[in-house]
Symmetry: C2
Subunit: 312 residues, 2 copies
């Protein structure tokens, strides 16, 4: 079975890792959000891409889900002492990634080439693609004005009330080379349990007009809800739904994707929503979707693949 998965940060990285434990390298392509990439200290930083790669390589920090295991913080400690902005946590090992990526970008290599080389160096065999080699930048419209994504997410800790989102550069950003082919030859696209507004929407907006629409006309699209029991497993997704006037729930997530969705994976906690999601014309699979252990990741990936294996 050939799968393309769309992933944001921590939740996306976990399910992608689960899928990578089951699928052969040539059968899994992971397309990662780069809408929250930004420049900081002159370094080109790709938080979601790094989280996915570190997770696949087994070098992610197991406690935070992002950043590196066995990390040290000496550079930022010194930075901070010198009065530099220290709101974005730059670990020392992680810095090596940003420095080398930035150096190669300046030499003219594309982000996808660099990602391929980094994956090779880290022993990652499955294909990891940034959604585009051109910059797309997520901006958050808030009641305090427009904020660049990391400014909203990290610096302001998602405090400002959200009014909407937009993706700067998306009109000019071609999808990364290989994404079209991977999707067209895939048995299904799996949308990871990442934030629909700021992790998955930027990817979908960049991939448009790809043949993502399901319902028999294109490739099958299965999403795993990042909202369980009305709460986001991690991050501000539920808060965003509330601030936008939508009750946060797995149903709201299914509605979010309804135009492209053929299948939806609900957590057991939300089994009571099954009928309502089916009412959207979407098939439903109910299972445990919380990924605490490596085994959970593999189990959820296995469940998703079984679901796709049925005549979805």
């Amino acid at each position: 079975m050939k799968i393309v998965t769309l992933a944001g940060g921590v939740g996306g990285a976990k399910l992608a890792h689960g899928l990578a434990q089951i699928l052969k390298p040539e059968d899994l392509t992971i397309i990662v959000n780069t809408g929250d990439d930004f420049e900081h200290y002159g370094l080109y930083i790709c938080p979601d891409l790094d989280t996915v790669c570190y997770t696949l390589a087994g070098i992610a920090n197991p406690e935070t889900g992002w950043g590196r295991a066995d990390e040290t913080w000496n550079a930022i400690e010194n930075l901070s002492k010198l009065g530099g902005p220290d709101w974005f946590k730059l670990g020392d090992r992680d810095l090596g990634t940003h420095l080398e990526r930035t150096r190669r970008l300046k030499e003219g290599f594309s982000l996808s080439q660099i990602t391929r080389d980094f994956c090779k160096a880290w022993g990652i065999q499955h294909t990891v693609l940034p959604m585009s080699d051109r910059p797309v930048r997520t901006f958050v419209e808030t009641q305090e004005g427009e904020l660049a994504f990391q400014e909203y997410f990290v610096h302001r800790r998602c405090e400002p009330r959200v009014k909407g989102f937009w993706f700067d550069g998306v009109d000019k950003a071609e999808p990364v080379r290989g994404a079209r082919e991977a999707i067209q030859s895939a048995d299904a696209v799996v949308i990871c349990p990442s934030n629909p507004w700021v992790s998955i929407d930027p990817i979908l907006a960049t991939l448009t007009p790809f043949p993502l629409s399901g319902r028999g006309v294109g490739v099958r699209v299965v999403a795993v809800s990042p909202i369980i029991g009305g709460q986001a497993v991690k991050g501000p997704a539920a808060k965003m739904y509330r601030e936008l006037g939508i009750e946060p729930s797995a149903l709201a997530v299914a509605k979010h994707y309804r135009d492209i969705l053929t299948g939806f994976v609900l957590d057991k906690v939300d089994a009571d929503l099954e009928k309502q999601v089916q009412g959207l014309g979407v098939q439903v699979f109910v299972t445990n979707t919380i990924m605490k252990s490596h085994e959970d990741r593999k189990q959820l990936a296995s469940d998703v693949l079984s679901f796709i294996g049925t005549d979805l």
Copy 2:
């Protein structure tokens, strides 16, 4: 007594530290070579300036003389694994300095402002000045062609045979603000035991036409020889003299500076050169000039100040 001292890297930093242990903050100005500054990974790196500041702040690596104490190397370890150039040793704590300096330069602050702020953060009370706020770049003419200084010094480990030196940008580089005033009001300029060709000459070339010429017409200038018993205490100074066809010796160093020198400090090992140096019209002081301990630094500084205190 008011002193201006001209310093390169490790040897310069040690004597500057010795002087700082004796002189009041308002009585010591340290003008540091920036000819070996360079850009690496997009970072603006000032090796001599950092060595001097780290040494004065008591945070230098006591074994190497350069870099930070208690340093970690996680960023470069990752860089190296990713295939990035790793010939210049970037420590993690040190990286914080380069990142914040680069950020501030891009914001429009001058190197001297940044240095002043960093000194304050590190608790350095004496005045440390980069020789200029404009870039001056030392190039080494070798038998293999022209090499940028760090390329010659670190990457090629001083192996190529030297034919000469030149300082790119020196014509347009004004001396840093405050240097002129400090020298004019100083009782003496002390040239540290740094490499004459690549640490002190760039400073002198940048300060020209300052009233450095001694012999009664300007400020007194006292140099401490970096060559002892025909050997450089550290670095390629002796090798450079040999490759340029000059026998390396303290006498050769005194001759190097003869146009501006009023006094010269010889190591006891070179006491036999006293008469020959005096023959250049230069007063001589003989003492121990090897600085192994903090006490050695202070003792040499004290000896140099006593020498200046005589009617030099």
